[in-house]
């Protein structure tokens, strides 16, 4: 047996995961057509253990395997050569454990040693470099972009990140808390906290109430709805369509202020906790959410109609920053950006969530450009609003349940995995415990980890002035990547 098959949110014994020889594992991964979910090392006494999780999206299963790497082994044959989906994972593994994937085409640093790195260079007539960052013109997170241009046309964009690195994975092992999980990526508070709480509940076999599960999903959809509306405004701000920018911004305020009324924080901080949720949604609040969302839906529909009718907007949107479906698949783009490029990946439905299975999974006709990235946000906003209403209806049936149960101790020698579809896409948290029931490794994979390279591909061949439009369309996380 080469793989151990599990479902999403499942705890298993750490020793149940098969251990292969490194060469055998390498050959298997290079030939596999399943996409990698996570690929990470873990200190194993003096040695290093490499864990790999693969996703079988059609069956809704997760395949686990591992390999024990002796402390004397300092290199292995790179998998990326045969299967480019592993390029970021291998770079990260090399940086964290100093075991070199030999023959990796581009072993550049992920989060450390940025100062020594030499960027790609291009020579010739009218060629030049444009360096942007780490501090940007807007109020956003730090990252460095290096454009290689000829005239105004971008030939290549190199992205250097790592400025936000705060050592979140180590902190999570030493002192895990809901507050830390929320602060890893402040625009996906609910998604991160939900993934963390689910992991801890699996590891300790804590069974939370259906009511708490429903409230978590309502909050998750509200977060998705709020951020998508805000992003639509930000995209329009970058092409100087200011009416759209402001209308979407104030519409977003309505959603996050409702979140404030539920949880005391505009982004839902403090709502979810290990063992359930801290705040209830009663009938009165439920009616209020529905009435706010009805108003929001009306405004979003009206505004989006006006946007699509505007010739100046459409001329900037159409055919800008195209990423083909084949490229997206090769790079393993996930979530929102994957869907905008025609990859039907949505972990809410792929990894069968009990509450989403009755919901209709509406298809999206991708055009792969900036227009596609705007339209998918509009579509998902409207979908989310309808999901929230259905979830609130369901909540009625469970109104007498407790919202919180006592958290238990973690079970020793366990491995648990949790996938949450945040607004950017699949967020994967994995945790392992030792023989005393303490956390030994906490691995986080944000969807941005897959998708940053997609942005590089999108701006290739476009004018440099279209970069803000592409960047905002992707709207990837710096801190979720840097950890």
């Amino acid at each position: 047996m080469n793989y151990y098959t599990i479902k999403n949110n499942q705890r298993i014994n750490l020793l149940d995961i098969p251990t292969l020889e490194l060469d055998a594992l390498r050959a298997r991964l290079a030939a596999s057509n399943l996409r990698p979910l996570s690929f990470f090392g873990c200190d194993w006494g003096e040695n290093v253990k490499l864990f790999v999780a693969l996703a079988d999206d059609e069956k809704g299963e997760i395949l686990l395997t591992s390999s024990l790497i002796n402390k004397n082994i300092k290199e292995y044959e790179s998998i990326t050569k045969d299967n480019p989906q592993y390029h970021m994972f291998e770079r990260e593994f090399y940086e964290q454990f100093n075991i070199e994937p030999k023959g990796h085409p581009w072993l550049k640093p992920v989060r450390k040693n940025q100062d020594d790195y030499k960027f790609f260079e291009m020579e010739g007539e009218a060629t030049h470099q444009v360096a942007v960052g780490p501090i940007h013109a807007g109020v956003i997170e730090p990252g460095h972009f290096r454009f290689m241009c000829q005239g105004e046309k971008v030939y290549n964009l190199e992205i250097m990140l790592g400025y936000q690195h705060r050592g979140c994975e180590d902190l999570m092992v030493k002192n895990p808390s809901n507050q830390l999980a929320e602060s890893i990526c402040g625009d996906s508070v609910i998604a991160y906290n939900m993934a963390y709480s689910q992991i801890m509940e699996e590891l300790s076999d804590t069974k939370i109430s259906t009511k708490a599960k429903l409230i978590r999903r309502i909050a998750l959809e509200m977060e998705r709805c709020a951020i998508h509306i805000g992003d639509m405004g930000a995209i329009l701000g970058d092409i100087a369509y200011l009416m759209g920018k402001e209308v979407y911004a104030v519409t977003r305020t309505l959603v996050i202020n409702t979140m404030l009324e539920i949880s005391g924080s505009r982004f839902g901080r403090g709502l979810i906790t290990f063992g359930g949720v801290n705040f209830d949604i009663d009938k009165e609040m439920s009616d209020k959410i529905i009435s706010v969302l009805d108003g929001v839906k009306k405004t979003v529909n009206k505004m989006t109609k006006a946007v699509f009718k505007s010739a100046t907007v459409m001329s900037r949107f159409e055919k800008t920053g195209t990423v083909s479906r084949e490229t997206a698949q090769e790079l393993n783009l996930v979530g929102l950006m994957g869907r905008a490029c025609g990859l039907e990946l949505d972990s809410r439905f792929d990894f069968c969530d009990e509450f989403y299975k009755d919901f209709e999974r509406k298809p999206f006709k991708a055009t792969n450009d900036a227009y596609s990235r705007f339209r998918i946000r509009y579509k998902e906003t409207i979908d989310s609003i309808s999901y929230i209403k259905k979830l609130l209806n369901k909540l009625e049936n469970y109104k007498d349940e407790e919202i919180k149960v006592e958290a238990k101790n973690l079970i020793p020698n366990s491995f648990a995995l949790s996938i949450v579809e945040g607004w950017r896409g699949e967020l994967v948290h994995i945790a392992t415990t030792d023989e005393t029931g303490k956390l030994t490794r906490y691995k986080i994979k944000d969807p941005s980890f897959n998708n940053w390279y997609g942005l590089s591909m999108a701006v290739r061949g476009n004018g440099i002035s279209d970069f803000p439009l592409c960047n905002k369309g992707f709207d990837l996380s710096y801190c979720g990547f840097d950890l």
Partner: protein, 252 residues
């Protein structure tokens, strides 16, 4: 074009008219309200506080560390700790952020930010900032962006974020200052023309917040340069930010 104009009529006016007395929803967790008479000094709340902001005997909460998560309030069976919805949390000295029982909203408002004549005479009620995210989680950044939107519209008070430190009167720092950002932050500070102010925004920037024990931080900047304004919160609410800056640049 007519559709775009119609949206303006549909939206009407969205701004908050009186930003210094804007109502806040009751659920918001703002200035703590402590009650020593109900506290039995068990000290359990101090142990569960994720950032170590809480101290007992007598009770005090350090807003520079507090993430306003409300865990202590839910935990305390004697209800000795509560949070009001008072949002004007900015202060000009680090030690003023330590809240004790005596600190009511009125008292805090009076003491927190003192008038500095030179600030008024130099900036004359308008101040432009350069924001540096030094390891921030995008929470404070999103809220600072929101402070400029049509609801809060801080531009009408002469407060703005500008694109370059060269154009700025001061810098606003968010995030716990990661090692990888320490150099860029200092560079940005030096690029800003004198006289300049430094504002720390959010619990992470003020004390390291939830990341204070991380090995990947470099907080020398905070010790090296004078900090003019501390604005707590996790993340800082737009009203907290705007009111703190308005109090800071006021004449009387």
């Amino acid at each position: 074009m007519f559709d775009t104009l119609k949206m303006k009529l549909w939206q009407k006016n969205q701004f908050i008219p009186d930003i210094q007395n804007a109502p806040m929803r009751t659920a918001f967790r703002g200035l703590p309200k402590l009650d020593n008479s109900k506290c039995n000094n068990c000290g359990e709340c101090a142990k569960i506080c994720p950032t170590g902001a809480l101290n007992v005997n007598p009770l005090s909460i350090d807003l520079g560390k507090c993430t306003l998560c409300g865990k202590c309030k839910r935990f305390c069976e004697n209800h000795a700790i509560d949070f009001t919805n008072y949002y004007k949390l900015g202060a000009d000295k680090r030690e003023k952020l330590i809240i004790t029982e005596e600190m009511t909203p009125e008292e805090y408002n009076k003491k927190a930010i003192e008038i500095r004549k030179e600030i008024y005479s130099i900036f004359n009620r308008s101040i432009k900032f350069r924001q540096v995210s030094a390891g921030g989680c995008n929470g404070c950044e999103m809220e600072l962006n929101a402070a400029g939107n049509a609801n809060f519209d801080m531009g009408r008070f002469g407060i703005d974020f500008v694109a370059s430190a060269r154009h700025a009167d001061g810098i606003v720092v968010t995030g716990p200052i990661s090692k990888n950002m320490a150099y860029a932050l200092e560079d940005c500070y030096k690029s800003c023309p004198d006289p300049k102010v430094v504002v720390l925004c959010g619990a992470c920037a003020i004390s390291g917040g939830i990341f204070q024990n991380s090995q990947e931080l470099n907080r020398e900047f905070i010790d090296k340069y004078k900090i003019d304004l501390y604005i707590p919160g996790c993340p800082t609410h737009p009203l907290t930010f705007i009111n703190a800056v308005l109090d800071f640049i006021r004449k009387k």
